[in-house]
Symmetry: C2
Subunit: 298 residues, 2 copies
Amino acid sequence: MTQAAQIAGSVVSGPRPTTIVDAPRLSRRLGVDLVLASETLQYTGSFKFRAAYNVASNVQQAHIITASSGNFGQAIAFACSLFDKRCTVVMPATAPKIKVDAVREYGAEVDLVDVKKKGRLERLGELARQFPSAYGLATELFALGLDLDFIIAPIGGGGLTSGLVKAVERSGRKTQVIAAEPLLSNDAAESFRAGHLVSLPDESTTIADGARVLRLGDRNWEILSHGLAAVIEVTEDQIKEGVRLLFTLANLKAEPTGALALGAVLAEPARFTGKRVCCVISGGNADPALYAQLIEDI
Amino acid sequence: MTQAAQIAGSVVSGPRPTTIVDAPRLSRRLGVDLVLASETLQYTGSFKFRAAYNVASNVQQAHIITASSGNFGQAIAFACSLFDKRCTVVMPATAPKIKVDAVREYGAEVDLVDVKKKGRLERLGELARQFPSAYGLATELFALGLDLDFIIAPIGGGGLTSGLVKAVERSGRKTQVIAAEPLLSNDAAESFRAGHLVSLPDESTTIADGARVLRLGDRNWEILSHGLAAVIEVTEDQIKEGVRLLFTLANLKAEPTGALALGAVLAEPARFTGKRVCCVISGGNADPALYAQLIEDI
């Protein structure tokens, strides 16, 4: 183990359980019976650590190379440090500085590239997909005895939502899984409308940087096209309002991508009124300057 | 039960366990083997709910009147709503608007008063003191198997730290309890230097609004004067840096009072280097405009 692992004291023996926050003020404000499953306190600040830990602990390679908008990069960098593996992360030049810095701080090398014309998924490789992670998250929710009408989670490449769909199916529950997608980067919604996988021509500039992907993964689409109840397109204003509500009424620091699920409730309030809803707050690695801007006028 | 309790879905059956965050990046940055015991996700956003719940569930009165700088007010207001009791909270006119609003939102009446010349503690009554709460927090920490050299917690009236001292004493452990106090409101530090209870002449303007008290409670002083290992005086800059570090390296939204314990580590780094330290992050109800100001230049 490296210094990072040792100094954390207790050995990092795997992902930490999701943090359940039942926020009465937020529930009352929205008229929804809401619980939050927050991965903002997960190691490296997002649910991506779940997959990254599996990758680093299972693959034989001494040097792992991957690509990421930031959160998977931080996650794999830290996971590699726990297993004494060398790590290189290819990141878009547009990634928030705070995420680039964090990847470096966890001991990985960073390779910044222009992603205007090329989707990240093409370069990502298959590593993360071989090690499903969201499945564990849903299983945790059910183990807590939460009887949910809806689970809403953000969608980028589709790994989180497809994992949730599979977990719900195997549980035999009637919980509906809903994907929350930025309207500005709505390839999943377009795919559902078209009935086949649609790619966006260019990477979006949505504030939800974790969802700036051109298309779903093929295997994820197979699962989602049958198992997802809906894709809700969330405007930039609704994403921002989601960040603010999490700050004021739930004391949660979420990054914009992490607030997408709550934004989906704001986008379609009638669907959720009086229902038992779990919003997955997928990550908390917000850029400080951007975050300050979002909350200063609350 | 009122609407607030019902809409929260699962019945609120008591305080939620503290949220343990072992933040590897923060540990590494400080050179301390650090865990955070965060009460920012406690009901009503601070550890004060622990006492408030005990009060509301145990007293016979149908109408509870109390005084608070804000966090106890929110806590007792919500606790009273759970038990269908009427609640009036006397608050200083200088309390953050967000806390005043929250008290009202939880269904209590608010009575704003000028506290320039009068300490809040004189008016607070004995309600909260009859129902110790911090004891449970320390017991939770020990139950998790955390073998700590230090527990650092903010000090205002002294309820939290005296509860921690008692819990450590009964556990037979050698953990040292340390109080973190704003230098601008250092009545506890002055009391330790004098060897007797010292009152400040005027309420301080420290950014840590939860620690703006004139003096410790008498019973708390009895416990603390023998059981506390030290009081560390924390400058305003160190409090602010604590808020920033919790934001960037632990994804925690803490209010300034909640960041006092981390500020104490910044104030006396040599004391804690390489030690196993738990910082109690007592609350997260930060004013948005102030918080935005604190983080915008990170």
